[in-house]
Amino acid sequence: MEIVCPAGTPAALRAAVKAGAHTVYCGFNDETNARNFPGLNFDREEMRMGVAFAHTHGAKVLVAINTFPRAGDQSIWHRAIDDARHSGADAIILADPGLLAYAARAHPDLRLHLSVQAAAANADIINFYAGTFGVKRVVLPRVLSVPEIAAINAETEVETEVFVFGGLCVMAEGRCSLSSYATGLSPNMNGVCSPASHVEYRDDNGALDAQLGGYTIHRVAKDEPAPYPTLCKGCFSAGSQTGHLFEDPVSLNAEQLIPQLQKAGVTALKIEGRQRSKSYVAQVVRNFRTAVDALEAGRPLPQGMLTRLSEGQAMTTGAYKKTWR
């Protein structure tokens, strides 16, 4: 199986490639990609160099252009597609049907992947995208169980890519406006979720409050580590209960499900985290590469290989196990 790794910077790209990534995904440093954070991502020249470096080392590069273009300003996104093509990218990852139509028309030889932001969650819509735009791979939304993924693969020729490690989106991606409701900045339009610019920590009589957009969604004792206030992983009250009503502040780790995902026909395993450091990326990549190499060679999967990366942080297999729902 193909390991698809995040690269938020040219240094992270080189680190991921050297650590054994089959494929790296990255984006331009603007609102055209869904990890539009300050200091991250690639300018045009960096992208060209990054692709050349990866190709020299036998790795592929996918360029994510997976936000939804702003009405009246589509040319910014069209130019990103053109530039990704000219940088030599092996594929581009798109979510917006208008962009898919543009890419299929303007660059018929360019390989198209359907972003998780398109939330294509069944074989009918995946085959529809393939038939309409020639999409070759779909990144499946994190709302499906392993048997459901197997059923999808049985009904489509489109390759499937699934998230195995990193942040966990609890809501169907590309269809969530919680962040723009609270802060005015949106994953779909601005490429950000629960943006740091709207985070505030407050000392409240010995407790530390974490606020997003003025809403207090975490409270810990002063000496406890304060989790980042992501909306869907916040602490809320409903009925008579107070707690993490949507999801705990956990990350996704499906490393032990890799054999099942392989049996389910999954082509590629995606690691989340373009905002992570190059050393983190290298370490995660090395571990996952070891795991898939072991699997290919018929050896058992190394146990708990990523524990040290998730120090103090809880892990979940999310929707891959049906009981999560």
Partner: protein, 301 residues
């Protein structure tokens, strides 16, 4: 401008559901979208009431439209979606999966849960037969203006979210079930107890969201009262009112009067606040700094 009633987002008992649409046949609205949007497990409880509601609405001169499910994953849901076209009623697509099943050449509508953010996607949907698109509630007025212009050139009517709790997110996971320590498969229909969603507060006790099964809504009720003139000037064809269990027919009348020009801006908001005290209103997605903002609220000093 016309008024469209969107699909009921909540789980109401069959009797209440039927009575709502029976009454709606008399309401001053032009179009009614009905059917199950949020959770396929709810549909069997009122499915048999749908033909009667469709007939009553059509007979009263309203356009009746059937919604597709917002998130299609299970085989049962794929089949439900595929069967929609056979009902002989216009379909509102709320997950693009429905496009895979609609017969070619058959016109359709697009609901607010499909990401139509720009002219490219609008034009693509128009080329497939879209006749009407209700834009995602998240879009600012500037985008609405651009898309309404593009829609006019392509023969696509543009609709905007007018009133009701905003659909902010949809998930594979059922939060109502989780709150009751159940899974989605064994939810025992926990969402039925909350006919307008269950209020979700922050740790400071501030109202923030509402849970509705697998859906997450805003606590505030979006209200287009102060934006109607701007939306009309932009060329918006219709406002969408989202069903709520209290005072909905009066709300339809109030919006009708506002659209007819017989009442000034602020009338709807003040009436809502008088009839349902404690309701929080918002229109921030259109013009404010964030979705929760309310243009009539005093500015923070």
């Amino acid at each position: 401008m016309e008024l469209t009633v969107g699909p009921n987002q909540f789980f109401w008992p069959a009797e209440k559901w039927s009575a709502f649409y029976r009454d709606l046949a008399e309401a001053p609205v032009d179009r009614v979208v009905l059917g199950e949007l949020v959770c396929s497990k709810r549909l069997p409880f009122y499915q048999d009431c749908i033909p009667e509601a469709l007939a009553a609405l059509t007979e009263a001169g309203k356009e009746a439209v059937l919604t597709s499910l917002a998130l299609v994953t299970l085989n049962r849901e794929r089949k439900l979606t595929a069967d929609l076209a056979a009902m002989g009623v216009t379909v509102e697509v709320n997950d693009l999966t429905a496009l895979a099943h609609l017969p070619k050449g058959l016109g359709f509508h697009v609901g607010p849960l499909v990401n139509v953010y720009n002219e490219g996607t609008l034009a693509w949907l128009a080329s497939l037969g879209a006749k009407r698109i209700c834009l995602p509630p998240e879009l600012p007025l500037a985008s609405v203006e651009t898309l309404a212009r593009a829609g006019a050139g392509l023969g696509v009517a543009i609709e905007v979210w007018g009133h009701g709790r905003l659909p902010l997110a949809i998930s594979g996971r059922c939060y109502h079930a989780r709150l009751h320590k159940r899974t989605k498969d064994n939810c025992q229909f926990a969402c039925e107890d909350d006919s307008d969603g269950l209020e979700v507060r922050t740790l400071d006790g501030q109202p923030f969201m509402a849970m509705n099964g697998v859906q997450t809504l805003s606590d505030s009720y979006a209200c287009a009262d102060y934006q109607i003139e701007a939306l009309a000037a932009a060329g918006v064809a219709a406002l969408r009112l989202s069903p709520q269990s209290q005072g909905f027919f009066r709300l339809c009348q109030t919006y009708r009067e506002r659209l007819n020009g017989t009442s000034p801006a602020g009338t709807i908001a003040s009436e809502v606040l008088r009839r349902l005290p404690g309701t929080r209103l918002s229109d921030g997605f259109l013009t404010g700094p964030s979705g929760v903002s309310w243009s009539a609220a005093p500015a923070i000093p």
